[in-house]
Symmetry: C2
Subunit: 351 residues, 2 copies
């Protein structure tokens, strides 16, 4: 394995929490030496299991995250948490009361919790998040939990950088939230219906099942009827037989694809957390199958393209700063449209 010359990087690899915290901050601030550490640490990454926790605001994601920390610690695993907050550079760091709920783990040296703010920068969030996740991985965290607060593009991008995504929802969150659920449907590897002791939990379960069946219908028209029928029998064991892991209505399908299990929980009381962990384990096992491997590779390809896009824009800014400013002025005067201006700049840079 390659040497890590960067002093902080070497300490992170040795499991030093303080070095990890400092390096996270340097990465966040875009300090050039931090990039060197990332480059050197990269060969030491790829071992952590990264789990995204996203979903509707107020669904209880932080409480559930807290319970998952507890669950993984009970297995003796080192856990890192990255909380992605849409707080701005303007207001400074995170001001989440939710973070306090995780404080009980702060005395535990095998748990590291870090918040990262949403950057205003173009595509800045997911790059920064991906970099920090690699640091947590290099620190030898066995599990990295990535919790997001919002429900937009951020979350979609974050789910594309993790191995397994939990989408958390709760009963009775209204129309708008239903729409959000539809948006993140395809990102979910496991659904958690939290606050399942509340009125409307059954309806929420049914909605999710229906949406999954509709998704099947679009993805694989032949499977539509079967999917709709199976999910009509809520709570019944999956009909696809031996291939399905022991999680209700979900898991690996006969054709090798993954169907998200839907798990009811009441995170505040710890109910359903074991079932959730089972669903996560089943997904991890699926990731080692050929379709799972293919997904991992596709996500890595996304990561490379993200870096490439950023590096290209950086190079363009270096080489053509004045030309870009001039193009902006011409667009402002409406002498040229932004599409043609961009094409002209690309032609000038690349030929």
């Amino acid at each position: 394995m390659s040497e890590v010359a960067h002093p902080l990087g070497a300490r992170v690899l040795a499991g030093d929490v303080r070095a990890l915290a400092r390096l996270c901050r340097l990465v966040d601030d875009g300090v050039p030496s931090a990039r060197q550490a990332l480059v050197e640490l990269f060969p030491h990454t790829g071992k952590a299991w990264t789990i995204g926790i996203t979903g509707t605001p107020g669904a209880g994601k932080s409480t559930l995250t807290d319970k998952l920390i507890g669950g993984f610690r009970a297995r003796g695993l080192r856990v890192a948490v990255l909380a992605i907050d849409p707080t701005s550079p303007f207001t400074g760091g995170a001001i989440l009361g939710d973070r306090i709920r995780m404080q009980r783990h702060h005395a535990d040296a095998e748990v590291f919790i870090r918040s990262v703010a949403t950057r205003g920068a173009l595509g800045g969030l997911s790059r920064s998040a991906a970099d920090i996740i690699r640091l947590l991985d290099a620190w030898q965290a066995a599990v990295v939990l990535v919790e997001t607060v919002g429900v937009g593009q951020d979350e979609l991008e974050v789910t594309r950088t993790v191995d397994t995504t939990i989408v958390v929802t709760a009963p009775g969150m209204g129309d708008e939230v239903q729409a959000i659920k539809a948006g993140i449907l395809e990102c979910a590897d496991v659904f958690a219906v939290n606050k399942a002791d509340r009125e409307g939990a059954d309806a929420t379960m049914r909605d999710l099942e229906l949406m999954l069946a509709l998704g099947d219908a679009q993805r694989r028209p032949s499977a539509a009827a079967a999917g709709a029928d199976r999910h009509g029998h809520h709570g019944a064991q999956s009909a696809c037989g031996a291939a399905a892991p022991p999680v209700p209505a979900g898991g690996a399908e006969a054709d090798g694809s993954w169907r998200p299990p839907i798990v009811r929980c009441v995170a505040t009381r710890g109910e359903g957390v074991d079932e959730l962990l089972k669903g996560l384990d089943a997904h991890r096992a699926w990731l080692a199958t050929p379709p799972g491997e293919a997904r991992r590779r596709a996500r890595l390809a996304d990561a490379v393209r993200l870096e490439l896009r950023s590096a290209l824009l950086g190079r363009a800014e270096d080489r053509m700063h004045d030309a870009i400013e001039e193009a902006v002025s011409r667009v402002a005067r409406r002498e040229i449209d932004p599409y043609s201006a961009a094409d002209a700049l690309v032609a000038r840079l690349v030929g």
Copy 2:
């Protein structure tokens, strides 16, 4: 003014609603001829007043949007609405019950309502939204209302493409939502505290005022005490005198900067909508001042960079498809890190 040869483009410019709907769809689908229409229509854009409506899910954004449509129609203005939904290509178009609330305007030929889905593509949302906004502008809409559903990076990007941003919140939405408010604080040109007849409305007003004062303290340390003091007197007329337009606790400041007014409303009953319109008008007047112009230009520069980034990546994919795939394979084998791989690809493309 330049000719528009594109048949649909020419019809859009003449105010044809059906042509507009078709062209929106072609732009959404990324059809090459649609790009030609955008290029030709660009010189005819820049006249519409674009207003973003964002904020916490469930705060009543759609109802407020509906009332604003009514308010601008009462002034005889042509209005277009772009609703940005985080629904996926997977689930098809928008499934928002909220949209129904705006249906009463559907019979009005001077109102055009369009939903656009969040794309999974990198930076795809804001490009697509910006393009559609330009079409609505070319259709001679006097006002373009851009309503977002989520509260993440999408919204931050959308707010950067509009002239004026309304951030809508409502009392009693919990900790997590407080954090979201902090994140979009800097994007707000006007705050609307909707459902202001509910318990907790005064507390929400105070929270927002406090956050604005804190923002002042970071931005202009000298103004901190004054800001905190003025906002301690909730509801009092702004202390900054003649420079302040007649909206409570907000407007243009003595130093030329803009302080977001905070407007209470009960959208379902139409209460506070006139005050909201006044706040919007004041902001529009501010946009014509030198600091307002500077902001418009900075946003246009962002738009050009967004196009440039996209065009660069497109060119890289064309020229180096195999090299990118090879780089991904090497990163997957951890032979190289994504940072160095991206740099090598850039060097190969640009030199």
